[in-house]
Subunit: 226 residues, 4 copies
Amino acid sequence: MRDPELQGVDPVAAQDWRRFEPLKLPPVLRHALEAFAAHGYHGTSVRDIANRMGQTVPAIYYYYQNKQAILVALLHTAIVEDIDRCRRAVEEATGDVVAQLSNYVYCLTLCVTYRTELALLDYERRALEPENREQYTDLRDELQQILGDVVEQGTDQGRFDVLDTAAAVRALIAMCVGITAWYRPGGPLTPQQVGERYVDLALGMLRSTDRAADVLTAVPCSGERS
Amino acid sequence: MRDPELQGVDPVAAQDWRRFEPLKLPPVLRHALEAFAAHGYHGTSVRDIANRMGQTVPAIYYYYQNKQAILVALLHTAIVEDIDRCRRAVEEATGDVVAQLSNYVYCLTLCVTYRTELALLDYERRALEPENREQYTDLRDELQQILGDVVEQGTDQGRFDVLDTAAAVRALIAMCVGITAWYRPGGPLTPQQVGERYVDLALGMLRSTDRAADVLTAVPCSGERS
Amino acid sequence: MRDPELQGVDPVAAQDWRRFEPLKLPPVLRHALEAFAAHGYHGTSVRDIANRMGQTVPAIYYYYQNKQAILVALLHTAIVEDIDRCRRAVEEATGDVVAQLSNYVYCLTLCVTYRTELALLDYERRALEPENREQYTDLRDELQQILGDVVEQGTDQGRFDVLDTAAAVRALIAMCVGITAWYRPGGPLTPQQVGERYVDLALGMLRSTDRAADVLTAVPCSGERS
Amino acid sequence: MRDPELQGVDPVAAQDWRRFEPLKLPPVLRHALEAFAAHGYHGTSVRDIANRMGQTVPAIYYYYQNKQAILVALLHTAIVEDIDRCRRAVEEATGDVVAQLSNYVYCLTLCVTYRTELALLDYERRALEPENREQYTDLRDELQQILGDVVEQGTDQGRFDVLDTAAAVRALIAMCVGITAWYRPGGPLTPQQVGERYVDLALGMLRSTDRAADVLTAVPCSGERS
DNA sequence: TATGAATGAGTTTTCATTCAT
DNA sequence: GATGAATGAAAACTCATTCAT
């Protein structure tokens, strides 16, 4: 509603899609995200969020009209950042579909690992009211379309070979989002290492003979964990 | 508790892992499954379930001790059937890891398409109380281990080539389970067609040069939809 | 209602007020008594009773019209036995008010110690519906009146000296019933020992100079514990 | 929880153990006390309490975490006041065990008559959860111990003569608490009159030859009724 | 900005009771 | 005599939300 710290995507992060600053969310969203990620939208009460914030319930209603608005804000934040980064990742490799595919998968993997809780929230989209769900679905389709175009193009160019482009796209995205099921920051793999492995799997999946190590431009992308 | 129609996996289905009879669940579980799949565990009230059954709330408590017990029964039913089928699919192809991999993926795809709602329930595992969650996690690990052994073996034999076996296994399973996000019975693809496409993607992912059409033993597996 | 084992007070016990056979109650009453004594009438569910009996709920309704009827039967059993015994105890000592008082107190003490759970039930009288409560109150008044007559008579004869007969009677009965708060079978004192101590306290309370040991006719009153 | 009107024992009452101001309880406790006294803990629903308050159920949960917490607060209030008063009553008569005994009994009698409903609640202690029960039992033992010390000392000094000190203490307390069974404010006896009668009974019970009228320091102890 | 207090509608669960078998 | 199955009512408690301050 009028949450002062929510100014959209950080402009610095907006320059390098590989770089992830710690997620800067206003307090309500930050704590709501924790709670939603842990117990789901319906499994989280507004009081839960307030308790995590160390504040009282009405304080939350000062910033957001209702619980649903919090979910909307979070999902919007997440998908907008994903689209923004993935689009830039693909644009960076204009002219080379294999690199484009690699960059997309690498980027999405980084989004999922650096922003695991936000990525988890995708499963809560069914809790959106119809109108909000439609808006979110449109954005999600947009994210998917970016990949769809790459795969389509690569197939046309004979660089990829799949029976069904749409199925491949879905499988690629599901594979990446599925990282949320096991990845934990501080685990054995860094986001970049996960990214390389998933790019390699993706390239194979599309029957490219390239390998991730050769395609990915090694870039130092530290980015503190959120 | 004392639900008379819950007799475990159908013995006929137990013979052919490719054949899916319509899911035979006792009324409580059947309607609870519908509701949980649509709105999640926390988004479903016991009254919702009762209304779907055309009965009153206490009738549900006659059969199940509480709401949690219903979720436990459903998740158990689902995972046990998955393990049973996938194990038989792999055993059927003993001696040929590529066929084993194909059968596993094909089988899991069929499970997800023929039993979409049960597959969706996997995301509700976080609603399980600790003890129940542990039991379910063990079974899920078992299902994953079956695939892990195949990938491991295929890699040793030089039939597969991946940077990280564990990551590949997770990606394969996430890819298949992710089918729940878009597959709808009656849609353009039959479960078998989905299966072939995903097997092909899986083979590519592991850098096998085989194609699904060549590996999969074409079998007429009608199986009415549940 | 039609409970076959409830034939009223055992005729053997009816002969010697000092002798307590193990309480012979039909199963429903036996288990209801346990439950009511432990958790009170409102704290006990019909299912609790059924579970203690190892039977199902409707079985209870075969014998008793409802939960209230069970309480009525128990309270009636208890108070009728108390009245019967105390009356005989007093009659036995006709002609000697001090002995009558002693016998009454001794008898009531035995009732409370040998039938602790039944005595405890007296606190549940408020759960009786008006009509049932009235009947029970009448019987309770009858029990109290027996003592009241003795104290009155003793005071007239100059054997007792109290400021207020009614208050003394209530205090005596409260003192005896209060034994339920601490007495446990198998504890350090036998019912007979408790009886002697309380008779001695009662005699003092009424300013008699007699002592319990001198007044009480020592009688071997084994009576197995209920 | 955060009930603002519960400030512990009134400091004025704290000065004179004979003086009873009208009981000042926060609304929830006040109405819960009425209900618990009338129908018992299990016989009272939270809605009953809310209705008596003229408020809705959740209003109660704003002040108390649950129903049990209300009982705990009430029992604590009662027993703490009893201990406080009785201790001061005994201390006031230091040096004279007979006067100490008289003061204790007189004080407890006043507590029971001026605070009949609170005294009645003692029978609800079995509804306490284990931990709460333990705490309450400890306080109750403390109250009993104060009397136990007096009786013990008086016996050593030859002022009292009982067969069993412990039994006498229990009988004395049961006798006083038993007043709840018949005493009603506005009845024929004032609390002070009841007190004198019960002190006289108590002195007799312990075989003291003193009479209440001689021992009790006549003090104007008006104290409006609660 | 924030909170104390409150509420209507809902939650899960249990209650006493019934009835066909 | 006893049970499986069911129910209307009510239990304790929580929900998202509001509003005066």
